[in-house]
């Protein structure tokens, strides 16, 4: 009793009970799963109410969402196909977040990556497919990477806010794409929908054997895994996290902050650029305005929902891919507008951010009842 009143901090520090040791060790991890999970359930409930206001049955909604996302092998393939670019565009937000930067321009990097990859493929019609594909990957990564590096450099050398500059670069990227697709790079045969010429069926990257899911998913998984190792198991990643936690401390211990920022931004943009390359080489076969399908913006949500952890991005991207895959079914069966997926994403985003307030506040996870 006296110890409690004299020094409450010390009392908290003592392990309360034997079975609470588990909670003490894993409490934070459980929190990271439990709180976003609860936010997701809350968002789905609110979306159900929202849909009910328009006279639709929320239970039908949940059923069709499940059907459209994970109900059948066909919908699973659709979901995974959409998850591939989402993993990569989410990395575009999650990697700079390690440095405390908020980059939301993944959509722009995706478009520029797609444009670069297409240009390279069209420039080397004589090369064997494998060479063309390798060149497309390089071009996509470099194009997207430089696009986001621009935001990082402006932040580091000119103090320009990276959130705003990266978003402005989305609109500039879209304008550049439209300009080239309707001008210099236009295929004269594309009348209604201005497009570049096709990169050729031989150069498409194709599907994983036995499925309709293209190889882009593997690209995404590898990129997420590599990012995880880079951030949590290398000196470079450690330095990045130190700089993200306390920039002055990082400078005092002599970390090259500029180099960190530029490298991380390049990798981030490269991931989104790779997503653009995949959309060209696995889905569209050419570059046109269809590429601005919003993967870059959904990727921001994926990154925040995964709390910027590259490994957690994989399941979250599959989940969000599932939600967008179910959009078609919701449209057909319930007559909901296609924007309903956007509304649900927005509600989820709001709930996830609001749930940030809950961390460290759930009584039973702190090991004391």
């Amino acid at each position: 009793m006296t110890a409690d009143t004299a020094d409450p901090d010390a009392a908290v520090g003592v392990a309360p009970a034997a079975d609470a040791g588990f909670l003490q060790r894993y409490g934070a991890t459980i929190e990271y799963i439990l709180i976003p999970g609860a936010a997701l359930v809350g968002a789905l409930a609110v979306f159900g109410i929202f849909v009910a206001l328009f006279g639709k049955n929320p239970l039908d909604l949940y059923f069709y969402m499940y059907q459209g996302a994970f109900g059948t092998w066909f919908s699973w393939q659709n979901t995974l196909t959409r998850a591939a670019p989402l993993i990569l565009t989410a990395l575009c937000t999650a990697l700079p977040a390690q440095l405390g930067m908020v980059i939301i321009g993944g959509e722009g990097a995706l478009l520029i990556g797609a444009l670069s990859a297409t240009s390279v493929a069209l420039a080397m019609p004589w090369a064997p497919p494998l060479v063309v594909q390798a060149a497309m990957v390089c071009a996509g990564v470099i194009g997207g990477g430089l696009w986001i590096t621009l935001s990082g450099a402006l932040r580091q050398y000119r103090g320009v806010n990276e959130t705003i500059s990266s978003l402005l670069l989305v609109y500039i990227g879209l304008a550049v794409l439209n300009h080239l697709v309707e001008g210099l790079m236009r295929d004269p045969a594309s009348l209604n929908k201005p497009s570049t010429r096709e990169i050729g069926a031989a150069n498409m990257i194709g599907s994983i054997p036995g499925t309709d899911v293209h190889w882009g998913l593997v690209f995404g998984l590898v990129a997420a895994l590599a990012s995880y190792i880079l951030i949590y198991h290398t000196v470079f990643g450690f330095a990045a996290r130190v700089a993200g936690g306390n920039i002055r401390a990082a400078k005092i211990v002599g970390l090259g902050v500029s180099k960190l920022i530029l490298t991380i931004c390049f990798l981030a943009g490269g991931a989104a650029g790779l997503a653009g390359m995949i959309e060209v080489a696995a889905v569209q076969g050419r570059t046109n305005a269809n590429l601005a399908a919003g993967y870059g913006f959904t990727g921001i949500l994926v990154a925040f929902l995964a709390r910027h952890n590259p490994l957690a991005i994989i399941p979250v991207a599959i989940l969000l891919g599932g939600i967008s895959a179910s959009g078609g079914l919701l449209q057909r069966r319930l007559g909901l507008p296609d924007a309903s997926v956007l509304v649900l994403q927005g509600i989820i985003f709001v709930f996830v951010l609001a749930s940030d307030a809950l961390y460290g506040r759930i009584g039973f996870l702190k090991g004391k009842s």
Binding site: Y157, L167, Y171, A175, L301, P337, A339, L342, L353, D356
Partner: protein
């Protein structure tokens, strides 16, 4: 070149007319954001608020037959979004920039959802005042057809400037923005001040949206606003949180945004998309010139997370 009498003068004239017409949404959003940021918070969600404002204004104008009711509805919608932003931000450890991004996506999504049935019908538009009655040249008359909302926006800027400087409310907002501790010490709730500042900011941004759907371009579709809200937020930064500078910057932006359509009207069609991106390129260029990593921006509210 349909009218040869004024020839290439069409371009500067159209840019001038465009500066007035296109700048109005920039003006309202930037003045609203100016109030919000002066109180120490940044609301990136105004892009979503703008689109929601445009949609609700069009819808209410269509249903009620009165465009002014639509403007009011847009303002109220904007204020509600502002309240949502401020409400979530007042929770502990919630980042206002991230909430802004979320509301940007939520606002546009919701507007597309609710606005689906509004693409087809035609709603009554806002009237314009014809300041060009003295001229015979149709281009001059077109350029001088000015909407009342623009005049209101122009009037709000100096009023806001004065209010920040001299009124009690202006001082409170600035105190909350410069030092929340000071405001707290004076016995005011910072969260409460910021809630009101964000709601007023959202109200103005919503009205800016109503201009888009009810006057120029004057219809509701999903491509109505592409980044005007976010450009206006950036504009506040290089206007140094000064309402009068917001006014001049908005006019410059309107002119830049009108360049593409103006050149197209005289037959310059190559590079159309690049000219349309002029406001974004201009924003980026001005931010590069005016920002500096060495010092914090002069006039920046000290509590603002974007400048720290």
């Amino acid at each position: 070149m349909a009218d040869g009498s004024i020839g290439l003068w069409t371009v500067p004239l159209a840019v001038f007319g465009g500066a007035i017409r296109v700048s109005t949404p920039f003006l309202f959003v930037s003045l609203g954001e100016c109030i919000t940021e002066r109180s120490g918070r940044i609301n990136l969600g105004l892009e979503g608020t703008l689109v929601m404002g445009a949609m609700s204004a069009y819808g209410i104008s269509y249903l009620s037959g009165s465009p002014w009711l639509g403007v009011l509805a847009a303002g109220i919608t904007g204020a509600l979004f502002g309240a949502l932003h401020a409400g979530i931000c007042s929770l502990p450890r919630v980042n206002d920039i991230a909430v802004g991004i979320a509301l940007m996506l939520f606002g546009t999504g919701l507007a597309f959802y609710l606005g689906k049935p509004l693409i087809e019908p035609t709603a009554p538009r806002l009237p314009a005042i014809d300041f060009g009655w003295w001229s015979d040249t149709p281009q001059v008359r077109a350029a001088l057809r000015i909407n009342v909302l623009f005049l209101i926006g122009v009037a709000i800027a100096p009023i806001l400037f004065w209010a920040f400087k001299t009124t009690r409310w202006g001082l409170l907002i600035r105190t909350a923005g410069e030092s929340s501790d000071a405001a707290r010490a004076m016995g005011y709730s910072v969260l409460w001040i910021r809630l009101r500042a964000t709601m007023v900011g959202g109200f103005l941004a919503g009205i800016g949206g109503s201009f888009l759907s009810l006057f120029y371009p004057g219809s509701w579709n999903e491509g109505l606003s592409s980044g005007q809200g976010i450009t206006a937020v950036a504009l506040v930064i290089f206007a140094r949180w000064d309402p009068m500078l917001c006014l001049w910057a908005s006019l410059a932006f309107g002119g830049a945004a009108a360049l593409g359509p103006a050149l197209q009207s005289v037959g310059v069609t190559s590079g159309y998309h690049l000219f349309n991106a002029a406001p974004y390129i201009l924003t980026l260029a001005i931010m590069i010139i005016t920002c500096s990593p060495k010092r914090t921006l002069t006039g920046a509210p000290a509590e603002l997370s974007i400048t720290r």
